[in-house]
Amino acid sequence: MPEWLKSFPTLGEEFLRSVRRVFDEGYRSFSREYGEAVEAIFDPLLYLLVWFERLLLATPWWLVVAAVCALCYAATRSKKLVAWTLATLLVVGLLGMWEDTMRTLAIISISTLITVVLGVPLGIAMSRSDRLQAIFTPVLDVMQTMPIFVYLIPVVMLFGLGKIPGVIAVVIYAIPPVIRLTNLGIRLVAEEVLEASDAFGASGRDKLIQVQLPLALPNIMAGINQTIMMALSMVVIASMIGVRGLGQPVLEAVTNQYFAMGILNGAAVVALAILFDRITQAYGRRLRAIR
């Protein structure tokens, strides 16, 4: 049997290595040259993140608890959910994880904010053009299936370790649901309601703001819910590139085989996830109930 039938013929080790080298060198010199400039672009984001984290840490714990509970009540009008929120925060604090929880809360909130600010307009654009939808859909598929570490590499090469690469990684990983569900929600708005807006001479902008977005809101909320869940699932991985919070003790626990520490911090992440999930879902249900 000829050699190329027995083992898969390759383009040659030498050739492949040089191709990789070209890419690596290229990107490396790009990040050497423009790394600082790119970082400067993200400086405001860093300030925001640091400010919010400091705010959460500097505010007396009981004020934070009260504020979170008040937000929860405003969004859901559910006393039961407020009780759960209160209990979760108290237990987490009693078990000594208050500061890490606040750090995680900060990065998750900011990441979610960014995904919404970027994702909703992208979803709107996608809903208005079938061509954009055809282009975006495979890109989003790749973003969701690509192993996270693969896009951590270029981000870390560009930014080094720290909060900003963490947020960027979280945003890339978590943004697809918001885009997808904004697009879907707008496309699902009933034809007859759109016809009615046209019949009254509504402009494209009026139609979007007064009719399409409000009617798509429950779907958009479902997207935000998924996004938060995905962001939380990134907490441990983000800690590998230097993001502080509940992920770091978990990572430490893995390397040092601290069983209880791992369980406790992991449980805190899960508790946060459940809380966010219930609150955003209850809010989504309230939006739906209004119509």
């Binding site: 007859e192 309601v193 016809e195 009615a196 807006s197 046209d198 019949a199 009254f200 001479g201 509504a202 402009s203 009026d206 007064q210 009719v211 409000p214 009617l215 209004i290 119509r291």
Partner: protein
């Protein structure tokens, strides 16, 4: 030209991939079925000519799928014609640029939909105010007009309700108020009461008639119910497979249907209630001097008890000013109610006379 009139000429509408390509076939008179099965296009409207004078109610009738909705949607250009012209108040609607078209829809023409098409996330107040919002009407003025129309259609007290909390009839009142709030001269109503049950339907017809007496809008009213058509319409156009078969007032339609198709429509209605004395009377008879006179616009149902006070005689018919314009008899009424099946002059009249004596 009066600003609320509608003129449509030579209108064709073909749905499909390439309507222009099949237009020659359509003009040669290809059937709807053949066009669909062998060419994959749907013929919705064929050579429609229609003129609706300002202030009148034009009804469009016909079976499901005959093109009623498609036709009314040409008047505000929710549908683009394949061929033909549409002008409203002398303005060619088809050449309006987007901004002017929007303005035209905001202020000249408004619409009520069969399945209400309300905004489910807006309150009754916000639904009614939608047309004014997109016109950027000043807030106080908007609130004033919204309140007035909500009141007028009988929804006072429901301002903060959502459409989903209202019954069908009330939802369509919202739809009506939303359409009226812009003060547009022309009102398109696409089977507005098709989804309502008969009693509520009668209420709504009454509401519309009351409003029309007050507002004198140009109304295009789609229905597939002849009773409703007769109740609201000045003229009734009957469509079949995208063509107007007959466009006439109710008397003409019932007394002289253009063909069997239209006659089918008229068979179920109560002729005594629909037909007017003036439409079936004989020429005036100069010797008439009976106190039992009837008004020309009385229905036969109303006239019959008067005339039958002396069944053998003819009663004079008077117009609104009291002038004698014709003569009517029990026999004449019965013949008209019987539906032309006893046509005058073939001996059946004598037979009826004998029965009546």
């Amino acid at each position: 030209m009066s600003s609320g009139s509608i003129q449509v000429q030579g209108l064709y509408k073909v749905f499909g991939r390439d309507p222009a390509a099949v237009m020659p076939l359509v003009r040669e008179g290809i059937g709807k079925e053949e066009l669909r099965d062998t060419h994959g296009h749907v013929l919705a409207l064929r050579n429609i000519d229609l003129s609706v004078p300002e202030g009148s109610v034009q009804v469009i009738m016909g079976l499901s799928g005959c093109g009623k909705s498609t036709l009314v949607r040409h008047f505000n250009r929710l549908v683009e014609p394949t061929e033909g012209s549409v002008s409203v108040g002398g303005v060619d609607v088809l050449t309006l640029p987007p901004g002017e078209l929007r303005h035209f829809r905001q202020s000249v023409i408004s619409m009520v939909f069969q399945r209400f098409a309300l905004f489910p996330h807006k309150t009754v107040r916000a639904n009614v105010g939608f047309g004014l919002d997109v016109q950027r009407t000043e807030e106080r003025e908007r609130d004033r007009r919204v309140a007035r129309w909500i009141e007028r259609v009988g929804l006072a007290g429901y301002e903060e309700s959502y459409p989903g909390e209202l019954s069908g009839g009330m939802q369509q009142r919202v739809g009506l108020a939303r359409a009226l709030a812009t003060d547009a001269k022309i009102l398109l109503m696409d089977e507005p009461f098709g989804a309502l049950d008969p009693l509520i339907r009668a209420d709504m017809q009454e509401l519309v008639l009351g409003l029309q007496a007050e507002l004198k809008k140009t109304v295009v009213f789609v229905t597939h119910d002849l009773e409703e058509a007769i109740a609201v319409g000045d003229r009734i156009a009957i469509l079949r497979d995208g063509e107007i078969v007959q466009n006439a007032d109710s008397q003409e339609l019932v007394l002289r249907p253009a063909d069997r198709y239209i006659e089918q429509f008229t068979l179920k209605i109560n002729r005594a209630r629909v037909l007017r004395v003036g439409s079936v009377m004989e020429p005036p008879n100069m010797e008439l001097d009976s106190p039992l006179h009837c008004g020309a616009d009385m229905s036969l149902e109303e006239a019959l008890p008067r005339v039958s006070a002396s069944p053998g005689e003819e009663a004079p018919v008077t117009d609104r000013d009291g002038n004698v314009v014709g003569a009517i008899s029990v026999l004449r009424i019965l013949v008209a109610v019987a539906g032309g099946r006893y046509s005058l002059g073939d001996g059946s009249e004598d037979r009826l006379k004998r029965i009546l004596r």
